[in-house]
């Protein structure tokens, strides 16, 4: 069992930055509330995966190199995405093999955690559900499932929420058809895949769709929206934050979220509000790693 660190780096990912900032905000709030100090290096951009998966390794490496430089301290790097975490953990060592800075890349890779993995395996987070009864369908990204091997983490987090019922959909482990540039390069196959995914999720009739990866959410929700009648969707971090904070009618929204939760304005030590929705289990309290 890894020791509980008192400080971590947060890598927000380019997709969260532009499309789902609330997921990033909620993730950091969850971490702070568990007593962890969060460092967000402002120069972070993208992990480099789009270029890596397109075969442009030199370009991917130059972008990856710029990210690696942002995480010098020997503390965990937490990422709210299985896909970007997989890029850093699994592919950085491949991308930098034989390069002068290979050792740094390997070091960074060894400190990478996908968010749900970190919440469950490192923080042993305990959640108290304050929300109304709700059903959710979970879509686990392929990178979270197979590359990172953390598919069970999102399930165990949701399993802690007493008022949340998970509904299963057909072919759950199957890819949603996003695949980054695949969706644009092979649009016909991608469309066939996501249309099937949407049908299966709709058939399960969830109130909400939850995932740990914003790429999949973008793909699935975009398809639902085009069909009309989209099932509301959220990144797991945003959903968890909504469930454990005592403001069910004021889910964090955009920049206003922080005003709804003034207690979160300071990071460490945890504010007096911290712990209201979050059973802390006495498992943290400033041990350094």
């Amino acid at each position: 069992m890894p020791p509980i660190p008192d400080t971590i780096y947060f890598f927000g990912t380019c997709l969260v930055d532009l499309m789902y900032p609330q997921a990033g905000v909620s993730a950091m709030q969850l971490l702070q509330r568990a007593g962890v100090k969060v460092i967000f290096p402002p120069a972070q951009t993208c992990c480099g995966q789009p270029a890596w998966n397109s075969g442009y390794r030199d370009e991917a490496r130059s972008v990856a190199r710029a990210q690696i430089a942002l995480f010098p301290k020997p503390i965990p790097i937490v990422i709210p995405s299985g896909s970007c975490a997989g890029m850093m953990k699994v592919h950085y060592p491949e991308l930098f093999a034989g390069q002068p800075d290979e050792a740094q890349a390997v070091d960074v890779a060894s400190r990478v955690y996908e968010l749900t993995e970190f919440l469950v395996d490192v923080l042993h987070i305990e959640l108290r559900d304050l929300g109304e009864p709700l059903t959710v369908a979970v879509h686990t990204s392929c990178s979270a499932r197979r590359e990172m091997g953390v598919a069970d983490k999102i399930e165990s987090l949701l399993g802690q929420l007493s008022n949340v019922q998970r509904v299963e959909h057909a072919r759950k482990p199957e890819c949603c058809g996003f695949g980054g540039t695949f969706a644009v390069k092979e649009p016909e196959i991608s469309a066939a895949m996501v249309l099937d995914k949407v049908t299966h999720i709709r058939n399960a009739q969830p109130d909400r769709l939850i995932s740990q990866d914003c790429g999949c959410l973008l793909n699935i929700s975009g398809t639902m929206a085009k069909q009309g009648d989209a099932i509301p969707h959220q990144h797991i971090a945003e959903f968890l934050w909504e469930r454990i904070t005592p403001h069910p009618n004021l889910p964090p929204q955009g920049g206003k979220g922080q005003e709804a939760h003034p207690a979160q304005a300071s990071s460490s030590p945890p504010s007096p509000l911290a712990g209201e929705g979050l059973g802390m289990g006495g498992k943290f309290g400033g041990q350094s790693s």
């Binding site: 947060f10 951009t45 695949f182 085009k226 304005a265």
Partner: protein, 471 residues
């Protein structure tokens, strides 16, 4: 411009009956495989063992092939080496001519498909009769296999019944699978005795003993290799294993991964022609060993893993792309994930390189591959080889041929922006601020999806209010 591959895919996606056939079949195969591996730890142990067996064989491929050849010759099997498909066909042709054979009966062999053997022999006026039921069906319909172990899987029972009725109008129409099978068996049985030359593939070649192993369910493999007086086996050079004790673990994981069977109905070990005093068996046994690009794959330490394949088809059965587009969309002999790594390497990235692109890299294939071939990593490598500027360090055929100036420039610009955070973030902020002005039609993305909605402000802007450290 829409590629040929995309056009074929479009056409095949628009055939609901074919899609339903693939769905039904692949669902069944996935379930049956799962039922064979109730103990996950045992499965993983067996996969590691099987990978090691294949990796070991490949690590000494040249030596093992020499040992194999010596032992085959000692057993009375005649060995022929073919560098290309054309040479392979000529070897087969020469054997047929020596025996004055005007026809050949074939057990299932993907390598013979790879050689285009039927077409080659038919242009010489030699009749090729497929005796595997699936192959028999598609031959009747003038098609190619849509799957490496179940060649007619794209057809359902009714379609097969109609095909039989059309081709054999004298026989009463039936949709009963057993009756259809019996019908084919009766037609084929007489041919086995009337034909001088039988052909088969090979699953494993044992170097230590000079034995050819053949895995099959219908008995047609045994018939093709024993009833005619000449047996020709064709296979790829990579199919060799070192010792006899390597076979049981591979056989066990092969049949369970492929069709979800604990063991196939027939397992043949061919160790030579009929010996003096024996009552049956062929008088001559030949083995044609095909290279056809394999040596080139062998020369790359990373791509070498491609050759570990034991052709179980599990990667195909679990592929979310294959199940939707079907085997014929690939335009290659080997479809699905294994085809997408093998065919671009054999034919060149300029010819089949797009197949490496036609994957989400979801990893469903490598999760089930019994010899742990890292298919997504190889796809990634082939994408790299396709667009790399400096091709001096790679032997992959067609390297660099997929590089376009416009795509290369796009990635260069992207990399420049993503390594200049101030400019990058100014760009993101601007984008969110003026998101109303962004296009709502994003080409391929918006055919089935709404345009993605940018947030009101980026995480970088919002994080400022969050009490986190900036370093």
């Amino acid at each position: 411009m829409i590629t040929q591959f995309r056009q074929t895919v479009r056409a095949n996606l628009a055939k609901p009956e074919v899609r339903a056939n693939f769905y039904r079949a692949m669902d069944g195969l996935m379930t049956r495989r799962l039922d064979q591996f109730p103990d996950k730890a045992e499965l993983e142990r067996l996969r590691t063992q099987s990978m090691a067996i294949r990796a070991n064989a490949l690590s000494k491929l040249p030596e093992l092939l020499e040992t194999l050849e010596a032992n085959l010759i000692r057993n009375g099997i005649q060995v022929h080496w073919a560098e290309t498909a054309e040479q392979g066909n000529q070897i087969v042709q020469a054997i047929l001519e020596r025996h004055n054979a005007k026809s050949i009966i074939k057990g299932k062999s993907m390598v013979s498909e790879e050689m285009g053997m039927n077409h080659f022999l038919e242009t010489l006026g030699i009749e090729c009769l497929e005796s595997d039921l699936g192959e028999f069906i598609i031959q009747l319909d003038g098609e190619t296999p849509s799957h490496i172990i179940m060649p007619a899987i794209h057809k359902n029972r009714i379609q097969i019944a109609k095909l039989f009725h059309e081709k054999f109008p004298d026989i009463p129409y039936t949709e009963d699978v057993d009756e259809l099978t019996q019908m084919a068996r009766r037609i084929l049985r007489d041919k086995f005795y009337a034909t001088t030359v039988g052909l088969s593939g090979v699953n494993f070649m044992v170097a230590e003993t000079g034995t050819l192993c053949l895995v099959e369910n219908e008995g047609n493999g045994r018939m093709s290799t024993t009833a005619p007086s000449v047996h020709i086996a064709v296979t790829g050079i990579e199919k060799v294993v070192e010792s006899l004790s390597d076979v049981p673990p591979l056989l066990s994981i092969l049949t369970r991964s492929a069709t979800g069977q604990p063991i196939t109905t027939y397992f043949n070990m061919i160790s030579g022609p009929r010996k003096a005093g024996e009552k049956d068996g062929p008088e001559e046994v030949h083995l044609v060993l095909l290279d056809n690009g394999r040596s080139n794959i062998y020369s790359d330490p990373e791509l070498l893993a491609t050759l570990r394949c034991i052709r179980c088809g599990a990667c195909i059965n679990h592929c979310p792309v294959y199940v939707r587009i079907g085997g014929h969309s690939y335009g290659t002999v080997y479809p699905g994930p294994i085809g997408s790594i093998l065919e671009p390497q054999k034919a060149g990235l300029d010819v089949h390189g797009e197949l490496a692109q036609a994957s989400t890299l979801c990893g469903a294939c490598s999760e089930v591959c019994p010899v742990r071939i890292p298919i997504p990593s190889i796809l990634n490598r082939l994408r790299y080889d396709g667009v790399r500027k400096d091709t001096s360090n790679t032997h992959t055929v067609g390297s660099g041929k997929r590089r376009t100036l416009s795509e290369a420039a796009t990635w260069k610009t992207w990399a420049w922006a993503a390594t200049h955070p101030t400019i990058y973030h100014a760009g993101s902020t601007l984008a969110t601020r003026f998101k109303g002005m962004l296009p709502t039609n994003l080409g391929a993305w918006t055919t089935v999806r709404s345009a993605p909605k940018l947030a009101e402000s980026t995480l970088h802007q919002q994080v400022k209010n969050l009490g986190v450290d900036h370093e």
